[in-house]
Symmetry: D2
Subunit: 143 residues, 4 copies
């Protein structure tokens, strides 16, 4: 087993993301998680946009965030997404937001596969099995 896939993206705080407390509003970390998560997918060979074209959606079923320190306008942050678990019907990720090494925020999200047409839960699309294995960090079969 190799380690689960991980991806870190730089996020520059947008002015619109601050609130009158002078820090980033707590709701605005969640789209950052999404950016890191989809970049992570891209790194393992599929883009999220393609999943939707194949007829599937990855629907968010849960999200949690813990805030330790506020991010500010002018900050460039490192947002890391890591695969937490991959199962037949879904996938979960964990997240860390850092500023120059200092951990500001952690998070986790859960997602299930949905058939785009029926809007019902479905199993991992066969087309994506090998990509999900790469995400999960499973070794490629030896030959």
């Amino acid at each position: 087993m190799s380690a689960p896939a991980t991806c870190t993206v730089d996020i520059e705080v947008r002015y619109v993301e601050t609130d009158q407390m002078g820090v980033v509003h707590h709701a605005n970390y969640i789209p950052w998680f999404e950016i890191a998560r989809t970049r992570l997918c891209g790194d393992t060979g599929w883009r999220y946009a393609e999943i939707e074209e194949l007829g599937y959606l990855l629907m968010v079923t849960a999200v949690q965030v813990k805030y330790r320190q506020g991010a500010r306008y002018g900050d460039t942050l490192q947002v890391t997404a890591r695969v937490d678990d991959v199962w037949s019907r879904g996938v979960s990720y964990t997240y860390e937001v850092r500023r120059e090494g200092t951990l500001l925020t952690t998070g986790r999200s859960e997602h299930v596969w949905i058939d785009r047409e029926t809007r019902k839960p479905t199993r991992l699309p066969p087309e994506l099995e090998s990509a999900m294995e790469r995400l999960a960090g499973a070794d490629e079969p030896q030959t």
Copy 2:
């Protein structure tokens, strides 16, 4: 000719809509215009959601906003939408945002009819002609 249709909605400023300047971020007035505009549609007998179900979209082609005074968290604002013009292929609206009578912001938006399938511009859907006449304030034909 009767006057063009108008509609005023109360908007309570959301904390997330403020920025670190301590006022509402300028981008956040545009969704308020949308709320007033769709409420106005509803008042004349069609809901925007139904338009999409009929196979049409009203695509925004232009928007402008002038800011005179900032709105703040804790404010309840009156956002007024008024039909500015109705033509065969689109419609435009003007907007005013007030706090207890004081004019804070004005705006204008233009929209064209789009066929949802082809994504091409189209003429005013026949199903909506009488509703658009009510919006434009044209007198109902005398009998």
Copy 3:
């Protein structure tokens, strides 16, 4: 002990809150929680804006959301906030989002009192003790 304070607000889904999946984007429930929570505060006699004027902030330290069913444009939702716990240095709330009785989403958030000047955690401001007792559902002393 009476029951903890609770407050339900009607939320009309905004078009801007939807995403290309055709449902409300999962980040957009969090500002709704905030609206219900601050309305709940208002019901017990203090407005959140006044807390900041008194020199305090209620900083969010954690939030979690579980999504069971998607909300759609055109929906009017009932968002309920309920006090979960009140302690000397903070307060937590739980949330439910319903559409005509059907539970769509649940959530929870934690908050700590912050001194606005020093930006350090602080104890419950004395000016707010009785309001927080009403929030927590403690009986008023019998006379």
Copy 4:
């Protein structure tokens, strides 16, 4: 006279920025303009965050956007800000959003200098005069 300063930033469309029409919601271009505009400031030697630290705000007084073609999730866009005009009490910018050379959107914004303490309009802060001259494209004085 040299040409006015210009700056182009790459923007990857965020999922949360789409709406149920399948394109980016029209309000979400305005924060992109802000990113390009503040990057442009940074290029000429001052960061917007520093302006606020100096005791000034650049308050938006007007914004307009024209939409020709919709941006989509998965797109990487080029957003260009260009100084339009610089005067003693404010500055205006124009914007272009392109996808692989195709012009999707144009815009313009106006801003006035505000004293952060009094919240009143003020003249261009002396500390920023030379930076604004660089923005406006005026030649440096010959020696």
